[in-house]
């Protein structure tokens, strides 16, 4: 089992030039749970995740892991506790699955130290956990999108961190692979207690898979908590600017948001007809 870690974002602000992207944001990530960050495009959700993993430096405020600023601690030490899977990682041409997963061992190795049995065990564990052991000798370029994403998650697993951040792990995947990846992350969280923080596009998937849902708007946390408390018609109206209906998903008992546009609602057809002559 993994250790508990506190991951806290403290009055964080970040701007690109004059444009403020994150504005005095506070967030406490619950340890050992799955948190999902949602919000409209350009609300700063990816920026927040990238700042938490120190890819970006904040203008003011801190990201504290166990009370220490992630931007100040040694890079390797951080990489042994917190991993990140970026949105579109690049695999070198021709690299095999086992080799790519092995790259996740980097933070555990010294400059000239040799590859150890512990490294092999970590790689084998990661391959097994993601069910990619069969693919171990294949080239990453040859895999399908879903397989490739599982391999990248395996690489992050080989890093053996207690906290894992993922930036839109389901983009470019079709629905079956999205479910596959999210199920895998849930397995990981349930079996090892890994703290998972991910940015997700799909509100309904986020509500289903997250223990803790964070809705961002305008660079601030607009609402956070249990999905049922966060995903409401009011929050959707403010955060995404659309009308919606939120019902309870009959399969998961989680909230399910049905967006409403100007058409295809019971009274929209009539409205359109009335407006036509003008």
């Amino acid at each position: 089992m993994t250790h508990n870690h506190t991951l806290v974002v403290d009055t964080l602000s970040l701007a690109y030039g004059d444009r403020t992207v994150i504005d005095a944001l506070d967030l406490a990530v619950p340890s050992g749970r799955i948190s999902a960050i949602v919000g409209p495009n350009a609300c700063g959700k990816s920026t927040l995740l990238r700042t938490m993993s120190r890819l970006l430096a904040p203008r003011t405020g801190h990201v504290l892991l166990d009370g220490a600023s992630v931007h100040r601690m040694p890079a390797k030490e951080l990489a042994r506790t917190m991993g990140l899977l970026p949105q579109s990682p690049t695999a070198p041409e021709g690299i095999t699955v086992a080799d790519l997963v092995g790259r996740g061992r980097q933070p555990h190795q010294g400059i000239f130290s040799r590859w150890t049995r512990a490294d092999d065990v970590a790689v084998a564990d990661a391959l097994d956990a993601t069910q990619t052991a069969e693919l171990a000798d294949r080239a990453v370029d040859e895999l399908s999108g879903g397989q490739r994403q599982r391999v990248w998650i395996a690489m992050a697993l080989a890093q053996q961190t207690d906290v894992l951040l993922l930036d839109e792990p389901t983009t470019f995947l079709d629905v079956s692979h999205q479910i596959e990846v999210l199920d895998l992350l849930t397995d990981l969280n349930r079996s090892k207690g890994t703290t998972i923080v991910m940015v997700l596009h799909d509100l309904n998937l986020a509500a289903r898979y997250a223990d803790h849902l964070v809705a961002l708007a305008g660079g601030r946390v607009y609402a956070e908590g249990e999905p049922a408390a966060v995903l409401t018609e009011d929050v959707v109206r403010v955060v995404f600017g659309i009308e919606s209906r939120v019902i309870t998903d009959p399969t998961s008992e989680k909230p399910l948001m049905l967006p409403m546009g100007r058409h295809h609602t019971r009274d929209a057809g009539a409205a359109t007809r009335h407006e036509e002559p003008t």
Binding site: L85, P86, T96, R103, Q106, D120, A124, A129
Partner: protein, 349 residues
């Protein structure tokens, strides 16, 4: 679901594959070293006068052999050592660039760094009348400055590898025209010599000229080797590398300075031997496989390339060609082939 413990079969598989590959890798490197040794000895034996293997070995061991001591020890040995050192430098620095920028086309001879060192060296020789170490220094400063310029122009605007390559090509075109101007100012007598140097040549190698190159190799190669793990992570993209605990900018700067240093010292001594930096990495990847760091295999391939090309250039054709012409004629079609293959595969380069 229970915690997935490493099943025996997966662990065996991972372990077995790694051991197999490590063995294969060691075997390939041994073959390369053996090849280099053979070519070195052959290069020392043949020439206007032929010396036997035993003569050559005795000279290398420091014994006095009439005739051979001068011809082999003073003339052929420095040439062969320069070829080896330049090949090692080009091969290692080239693959460092290619790995760091994640693109086989991003080698220093394509993105203008060699062109910068050449232009500076030609300027130093023809206009300033410098020679020896001074030329090396000018070439190194210019190489670093150009590397920095290309880097700043490409990255400060945001963007990545392909932009950097195109900008490098533009800079190289500009520098080539500077070199052309310098050549046009060279006297008729200098012309042939300058041209020869610019195409990369080992003619007239001396121990004196060799010293800086060897020193650079001894100092800078370990620096690059120390970065090999970081390079492997940088290949996965800046974000992933950073998540793996690599300090991206610092690591990149270290690689940049060390690789440019290697290139510039070797260029100052032997001229920009065409395409060695560009070719060695892909060839090494082909024979070693993508597993593990390519720095050492690529350096060995570089040395083998230069040695073989020099031997061919001297004796395989009617006229004696400088080594750079041979590597250029061999390497250019490969460059085109690489682009054809990448385009076919639909790769984004």
């Amino acid at each position: 679901m229970s915690a997935p413990a490493a099943t025996g079969s997966t662990l065996d598989r991972v372990l077995g594959a790694r051991v197999r590959r490590a063995k294969g890798r060691r075997r390939v490197m041994l073959i390369l070293v053996a090849l280099i040794a053979v070519v070195v000895v052959v290069s020392l034996m043949v020439g206007q006068t032929f010396y036997s293997f035993t003569d050559v070995v005795r000279v290398i061991l420091g014994q006095d052999v009439p005739g051979a001591s001068f011809t082999v020890g003073r003339l052929r040995l420095p040439r062969v050592v320069l070829a080896t050192a330049a090949g090692l430098s080009f091969g290692m620095a080239g693959v460092a660039f290619q790995t760091m920028l994640r693109n086989p086309l991003a080698s220093p001879d394509i993105i203008g760094i060699s062109a910068g060192a050449s232009a500076a060296a030609a300027f130093a020789i023809v206009i300033l009348g410098l020679s020896g170490t001074a030329v090396s220094l000018v070439a190194i400063v210019a190489g670093l400055a150009i590397a920095l310029l290309v880097y700043l122009l490409a990255f400060k605007g945001g963007g990545g590898g392909s932009r950097l390559i195109l900008i490098g090509i533009g800079i190289a075109a500009m520098l080539d025209s500077v070199t052309a101007y310098v050549i046009s100012r060279a006297g008729q007598w200098d012309l042939q010599e300058t041209l020869r140097w610019l195409s990369g040549s080992l003619n007239g190698a001396s121990w004196q000229q060799l010293a800086p190159t060897l020193l650079a190799l001894v100092v800078l190669a370990p620096v690059l080797l120390g970065q090999s793990r970081n390079l492997a992570s940088l290949q996965l993209g800046d974000d992933t590398a950073s998540a793996l605990g690599v300090r991206v900018e610092r690591s990149r700067l270290t690689v940049l300075v060390a690789a440019v240093g290697l290139i510039a010292f070797a260029t100052a001594a032997a001229g920009p031997i065409a395409f060695v930096a560009f070719l060695s990495g892909p060839i090494a990847a082909r024979i070693v496989g993508p597993r593990g760091s390519l720095l050492v295999p690529s350096a060995l391939v570089g040395a083998a390339l230069v040695l073989v090309a020099d031997l061919c250039g001297q004796y395989a054709f009617g006229t004696r060609y400088p080594v750079g012409v041979v590597t250029g004629v061999l390497g250019a079609p490969y460059l085109v082939y690489l682009i054809v293959r990448t385009n076919r595969a639909g790769g984004s380069l």
